[in-house]
Amino acid sequence: MNKISIPIGPHHPLLKEPLSMIIDISGERVLGGALRLGYVHRGIEKMATQRTYVQDVHLIERICGICSHVHTTTFCLAVESLLGIEVPPRGQYIRALMCELERVHSHLLWLGILAKNVGLDTVFMHAWHDRELALDMMEGISGGRVSHAANQIGGVRFDLSTQQEEMISINLVKLKQQVSGVLDVIENEPALLARTQGVAPVSAEMIKDYCVVGPVARASGVDVDMRRDDPWPPYDQLDVNVIVLPEGDAWARTLIRVLETRESLRLCESIMQQMPDGPVAERAKRKVPEGEVITRSEAPRGEVFYYLRSDGSDKPARLKVRTPTLPVLSLLPVQLSAIHVADIPVVLAGIDLCVACADR
């Protein structure tokens, strides 16, 4: 059969964010694909050097619409370590709580997208319905569903009231029940298993060659998780179970995210139990002393890496952000070979794209 090139993106029902792929197919077989990036490049790294540190927190929140909190947290950690200030324990715990809730909401959102891509709209609707609970919690705490504006340099901007703590505990129990129902479907639905099991497997060696991190790496048996490997407080006091699956196929990537959602909910519960009293933020100076620093944290999609250099003024001299999506994107053309056309949505969903993160 003749070779045909089909364009996927920048606008396609499959994609939630702009990204362009030209995929070569022959009949129903995929021969290979080429990728084009940069549709949502906003020059945030450069913009950050033109604003003060205080303004940058709000700018960096806009890097991603899903994992906005972990970006500001990592940035604030970098600035705080240059300033030499320590966030009060209660502030640290609230930060971690938001991080975990964000992971829950990101993973459930992702699960919905995968289900939609394989034509299982019921799971899509149910996953997004459950995700509303996580969003409600975050909105109840911070006032924002997507951009929470929770962080400031030196801590967080708000405290939790007793009422809010109760609301979170109730919703966590509810969410846990819902997630175990979803897990049951993922493990047993025959058509879903047929569509994902054995599809586009990636070996652990390949993951290491391409520097892939996060759930995709863990689904291929690579044991990395910044919450355990390089923890910032309070993760060093929390008992993080890193879930690793050996299969490396699309099904393992599905299952691992549901298992991680459950694990995050458990972490949220222990954060709520251990939540100390006291202030939530420390006052920070406007000017940051000269120096450079690297901070890392575990975003829902894997390791987020910040490099910050200060020249002693109130604006950063250089900010470099490395997000987990870019290495996964470089793995994409490799995965898009010798599969069926119908597997393209599964493969694309499996890597959990965040194009806005990758382009910045």
Partner: protein, 308 residues
């Protein structure tokens, strides 16, 4: 003559089929929504969608043939409407002759072929892919479906839907004798209607809109209408073949029972589309030829042996 025109335009022809199509679509959407924890659309939503589609601007991509694009949905529409005329509705038969079951099967295949041609006639790559997939899917479901629905015909000793329905009065509803056949025919019908989980030719995440990607306005509206009427005819056909007993045996409540049976079919189709993920085309071909065809042959053999 006037009677014939009434049959064609009103009952059981155009008007009746369109109303049933919209009603079934609403039922299906509402049920699916409830399965998915949504509220679902109000009753007039399918009608509103149709009115909106018909009033929209008709766009024609460069290189595509407007005549062909208009003819294909009209051809499919006339085929499915004609098929609908031969099916008894709650015992009321307008046209019938020995062998109309085969004619219905033939006419019901026309939309699939037109869908394939629509894909080939469009200039877009997604339409081309969708069209190719629709013919592959046709080859997978049509054979088991044909073998399966010859089961009731063999049992009744007639190839007329009205006769099959009639003969169930003495023999009892065929679903009791051919439950496997009913399941297989339902799977075949889902394939024919390109419904989730066999919506492979029009899977939005893979081929955008399938063959219909480049259709717009009234032409797209016609296509949706064709699919709705196809669903109505398919459901009526299965109800007659497997529950036909109630049409004749219970003359007083035949209409009510017929409606209930149709709604049951709609509910089955909705539940199946809510529960299963879409299959890949190679998986469907495997399902069709490795599982459905042998099972339908077993069912047919069983029916023949019972007759002997």
């Amino acid at each position: 003559m006037f009677r014939g025109i009434f049959y064609l335009l009103f009952f059981p022809g155009l008007a009746f089929q369109v109303v049933c199509g919209l009603a079934f679509e609403w039922m299906d959407r509402k049920l699916l929504a409830r399965f998915q924890r949504r509220v679902g659309p109000p009753w007039y939503q399918p009608l509103a969608d149709m009115i909106k589609l018909f009033s929209k601007e008709d766009l024609l991509p460069e290189g595509a043939s407007g005549v062909v694009e208009m003819l294909l949905p009209l051809l499919s529409m006339s085929a499915v409407l004609t098929a609908g005329l031969y099916i008894p509705i709650a015992g009321f038969t307008s046209f019938s002759f020995e062998g109309d079951l085969i004619v219905i099967q033939f006419l019901m295949s026309v939309p699939t072929l037109a869908y394939y041609l629509a894909g080939m006639a469009s200039v877009g790559i997604y339409s081309f892919l969708g069209g190719g997939r629709s013919i592959l899917q046709y080859l997978s479901y049509e054979v088991p479906l044909l073998i399966t629905i010859s089961g009731p015909a063999v049992m009744a000793g007639s190839w007329s839907v009205a006769q099959i329905s009639q003969s169930q009065v003495s023999m009892g509803p065929f679903i009791i004798f051919q439950p496997l056949g009913f399941i297989l025919a339902t799977v075949g019908l889902i394939g024919k209607l390109k419904r989730d989980p066999l919506d492979i030719p029009s899977a939005s995440s893979e081929v955008v809109g399938g063959s219909l990607t480049e259709f717009s306005g009234a032409k797209l509206g016609f296509w949706y209408l064709v699919m709705n009427i196809q669903a109505v005819v398919g459901i009526f056909l299965l109800v007659n073949l497997y529950f036909g007993w109630s049409n004749v045996a219970l003359p007083d409540v035949a209409i009510g029972v017929f409606i209930l049976e149709c709604l049951l079919m709609v509910a089955i189709l909705s539940a199946v589309s809510a529960v299963f993920a879409r299959l890949r085309i190679d998986q469907l071909a495997g399902l069709g030829w490795k599982i459905l065809v042998p099972l339908s042959l077993v069912q047919l053999g069983f029916v023949i042996l019972m007759g002997v």
